[in-house]
């Protein structure tokens, strides 16, 4: 028997706020988290703008003795998970710890740790590396640290699918809760990629915007890297109701696909199949969808291809629904992006408010849908999708519905 899957908590640490509440407040006001990097050697970078988590002090969140084992990506994930679990009121006592999963997506794990240690080794001639370097940078470190921090003893692992990692992670958690494999899941994504080495390799792809991120807009120049984490608590409806939890929304469908085509170029067919399989999984008709939280990276290729996929799947309804990109404000947090966007999608349903796509200058002939330009919009949103499409041709889409 399938269970209904509800969301009872969320946590966010982002470039526009260190809690889910401030994240949403700023997202709905169109506040940008994008600015010149503060922690990078700007004279050695072409790409100088990023969406950093600002005013972040690790020691406010962690005992100093813990920090040598915690990469920034793990720290963000733990902070978001703590907030999500606190909000949900979930207690893992009485056997629930064994029936709870922790599934965290990340594109590349502890990149800052790798970067710092290789710099010490190759440039400074260090004779030895810190003994916790391996467990600090491993891709599963955020999931493992959440498990240890909160006492989660059920299925715990990382999901890596580049820019779709968090959406794949939340989708797997949804399927596990729905099937009854677990009763609850702590799922989301994290990334901390704003360090010198990763910035240089992103520069090399020649897809970074020098000015700002303008998804779907004319004169858009590409993506801007972001960082942070977002984590959700999912559980069966029965369990949430039995403990009188505040139910924030319902997850109703998940779909995945692979392009099996180009390594980098997005594909209308692959995106469309992921969206269609999500609708089928949720037993929704295309006309049921009011709002789409777009992947919307701000690159020439993604935004045109995503627009074409929406038209392909939704037909005439494509012109009736609204679609916006959070990346215009928080940049692209790679493996964490889908989790920010899933929280935002659920909040959009909760508040009947579509956050804007900011920095929008005007239509591109090939991007001619309603992207909620520059100003948030109050509108009826009962059912919404969140899209994530990754390098390597990996696509993942989640569907959410107002809980009634």
């Amino acid at each position: 028997m399938n269970h209904r899957v509800v969301v009872t908590g969320w946590g966010v640490i982002s470039s526009i706020g260190h809690t889910a509440a401030t994240f949403w407040e700023n997202l709905s006001k169109g506040v940008s988290g994008i600015a010149e990097a503060t922690a990078l050697p700007l004279d050695q970078l072409i790409q100088k703008i990023v969406a950093e988590v600002k005013d972040y002090e690790p020691t406010k969140h962690f005992e100093a003795r813990m920090l040598p084992a915690l990469d920034r990506a793990s720290q963000f994930a733990m902070i978001a998970a703590r907030e999500a679990v606190a909000q949900s009121g979930l207690s893992l006592e009485g056997g629930l710890a064994e029936r709870t999963a922790a599934i965290i997506g990340t594109g590349a794990g502890g990149q800052g740790t790798l970067d710092e240690n290789y710099r010490k080794l190759y440039r400074e001639g260090a004779k030895r590396m810190h003994p916790l370097t391996v467990p600090k940078l491993m891709v599963n470190a955020p999931a493992s640290q959440i498990s240890m921090d909160l006492g989660v003893r059920g299925p715990t692992f990382a999901v890596a699918s580049a820019c779709a990692s968090a959406t794949h992670a939340i989708g797997l958690a949804f399927q596990m809760v729905r099937s009854g494999g677990v009763t609850a899941a702590i799922a989301g994504g994290t990334e901390a990629c704003i360090t010198f080495g990763p910035m240089k390799i992103w520069e090399a792809l020649k897809i970074m915007a020098p000015d700002t991120c303008r998804p779907f807009s004319r004169d858009r120049k590409g993506l801007v890297l972001g960082e942070g984490a977002a984590v959700l608590v999912l559980e069966t409806l029965e369990h949430a109701q039995a403990r009188s939890a505040d139910i924030l929304g319902e997850v109703v469908g998940f779909g995945m696909s692979a392009d099996a085509g180009d390594l980098l170029a997005p594909d209308v067919g692959g995106m469309s199949r992921a969206i269609q399989s999500t609708l089928a999984d949720a037993k929704l008709a295309p006309t049921d969808i009011h709002y789409i939280n777009a992947h919307g990276t701000g690159t020439a290729a993604n935004d045109v291809t995503e627009t074409a996929a929406i038209k392909h799947v939704f037909g005439t309804h494509a012109r009736k629904l609204a679609m916006s990109s959070n990346k215009s404000m928080i940049g692209h947090s790679l493996g964490g992006a889908g989790a920010f966007e899933m929280v935002a999608t659920l909040l959009s349903v909760r508040h009947n408010l579509a956050p804007p796509t900011i920095n929008y200058l005007g239509p591109d002939p090939e991007c001619d849908l309603d992207y909620v330009p520059n100003q948030a919009r109050e509108m009826k949103i009962d059912v919404a999708l969140s899209n994530s499409f990754a390098f390597g041709g990996l696509n993942a889409v989640l569907a959410v519905r107002r809980f009634t």
């Binding site: 020649k206 915007a209 590409g222 180009d262 390594l263 020439a300 290729a301």
Partner: protein, 83 residues
């Protein structure tokens, strides 16, 4: 003085799916290049000529249509380089 034309053609030719002779008036969109060939070509050109090429793939189609336009752009950057 490096032979910019020959070097640029050799760099692009390495990325072709099928070996063939390249000419300056060949159109890039007709070459069957992968999505990532263009950034690899830019990288190879930057390495070969020790240049920083101001290039963003989000508006690439506006800048280069033919092999010859790349040759001309590289020649301009090479000529403008401090000796």
């Amino acid at each position: 003085m490096p032979d910019v034309t020959a070097d640029v053609i050799a760099i692009i030719a390495k990325k072709l799916p099928e070996p063939r002779e390249l000419k300056v008036d060949d159109r890039l969109e007709d070459l069957g290049l992968d999505s990532f060939s263009e950034v690899e070509i830019i990288f190879d050109l930057e390495e070969k000529f020790d240049l920083q090429i101001p290039y963003n793939s989000n508006d690439s189609r506006l800048e280069f249509e033919t092999v010859g336009q790349i040759v001309a752009a590289i020649q301009k950057l090479v000529d403008g380089k401090p000796q």
